[in-house]
């Protein structure tokens, strides 16, 4: 089998692969070291943020729109789950243990590490033209007609060409760009807007979102969107071959065969 290293992705790593394992002739460079390291730091932080975020939410599983909202006001909606606080009317006869102390501490520590890691990733991605080379779709790919053609191909589970297989397809590119440049900034912004100290220095960060409780509600929904992305992302990784894809994100190299997702 001929190896087809996409010229775009190959440019990312300078050292040519010298490793070989049994069935595959050669391994193609796939992810740069910086992308791999920031990917896994972000993964750990995201899981920590998700777990602690859930713990924080259960202390008040009610959501509001606007500036204020308490147990005495009407909720926009309430999650049908028990609470870790006695005064929240949940309909459950029991109260969960309070975990907010360490949850908040870990939430913010993970947020700091994730944000600093994200900054490093974005700055280096701009400097190394990672976004332009690997994530920005070609102009021809984003027309409605091209997207529709590609989408129907996906639905028919058509195998991508070798060249396509070793780089990201247009849906992956658009999704990653949306997560990196829309969802992550929005979840950081809505999180910071809930900080009373931050809001005192930058009051517009809250007012633009419609108030403190709106910021909290937005934070919740953007987090849900990120969890949805995580599920789809992991599902696609499994579909494309869990060990080969995960291995590529660890070692940076991959066998250039059979990649659909």
């Amino acid at each position: 089998m001929a190896i087809t290293v996409s010229p775009q992705l190959a440019a990312e790593t300078s050292t040519p692969s010298a490793v070989s394992t049994a069935p595959v002739t050669k391994l193609a460079a796939r992810h740069s070291a910086l992308v791999r390291v920031t990917h896994w730091i972000t993964t750990i932080c995201f899981l920590a943020l998700l777990l602690t975020g859930i713990e924080i939410v259960i202390s008040h599983p009610r959501f509001y729109w606007g500036e204020t909202g308490t147990n005495l006001t009407t909720a926009l909606f309430q999650l049908p789950i028990p609470s870790s606080r006695r005064l929240v009317p949940t309909g459950y006869g029991y109260v969960l243990p309070d975990q907010n102390g360490w949850s908040r501490a870990l939430h913010f520590e993970a947020a700091w590490i994730a944000v600093l890691t994200g900054l490093l990733y974005v700055i280096s991605g701009l400097l190394t033209r990672h976004f332009r080379k690997n994530l920005l779709p070609g102009r021809a790919d984003v027309s409605w007609r091209a997207l529709l053609t590609r989408f129907t191909k996906h639905l028919r589970f058509e195998r991508p060409s070798e060249a396509e297989a070793s780089s990201y397809n247009v849906f992956q590119r658009l999704t990653y760009l949306f997560v990196i440049f829309v969802l992550f900034p929005l979840v950081i912004w809505s999180g910071l807007a809930m900080s009373l100290g931050f809001a005192s220095a930058f009051p517009w960060s809250v007012t633009l979102l419609g108030g403190r409780q709106s910021a909290r509600t937005i934070h919740f929904f953007v987090s849900l969107a990120l969890v949805l992305f995580l599920f789809v992302h992991v599902a696609m990784v499994c579909l494309a071959g869990f060990w080969s894809r995960t291995g590529a994100m660890i070692t940076g190299r991959t066998a250039t065969r059979k990649e659909h997702a």
Partner: protein, 252 residues
Amino acid sequence: MIHLSRRKLLISGLAATAGTSGLAVAARLAQKYGLVPPDAGGIYGLGETLTYASQRLLTRHSLAREFPRSRISPRPFPNELAPLTEEFKRLQAGHFADWRLSVDGLVAEPASFSIADLKSYPSRSHITELACEEGWSYIAEWVGVPLSQVLNLVGVHPQAKYVVYTSMEPDTWDSIDMSDALHPQTFLCYGMNGNELPVVHGGPLRIRLPRQLGYKSVKFITHLTVTDSLKRFGKGLGSAAAEGGYAWYVGI
């Protein structure tokens, strides 16, 4: 597989040394300029310190958002109270006429104030949001005397770094740095929404810091101590909340 050239090794070594010494210098500077919170030990110390240091640099002079009177929440939510002590009930029966706020520590003249004393000074008010770490929040008008005014009356020594405040609720105390203590919106609060501060909201005297979460605005204040170190108070973490695993600094 991995080719480490001498040049790469040298550069990595230099970068690691620079990084480590840079961190050490940053830690020393942060300590010197009071940017390390008292509960910075332990695995969450990095996050706590980054938050406290960055907010201290960013918010030294910033004011909490204030709201027009029309946005005052009609029904402010009173959070759960510990059962009131016998002593509290006795003072309550006397309409808190015997309530005392004592001030000591690094001050020129330790003093004790009744609620009437505090009310004799020009009162200030702000309409700000009280936000609980749980997630809920409401807006109220808070009336009181700025803590800075009381501190000026007793004369704070220049080496003062923190003000420790103690509640009549058992095992309830907290502390703030001088930046928060002298902040114009930090009140010893005795009124709310045009009335006396209700007991459920911390009456007769509550500290109110609108730039930090609700649990920092401790209810039933009886005692202030000005100090240059928090090491001698409790476990040295700066507050009873911090000893219970809740951050000392909650501007976030």
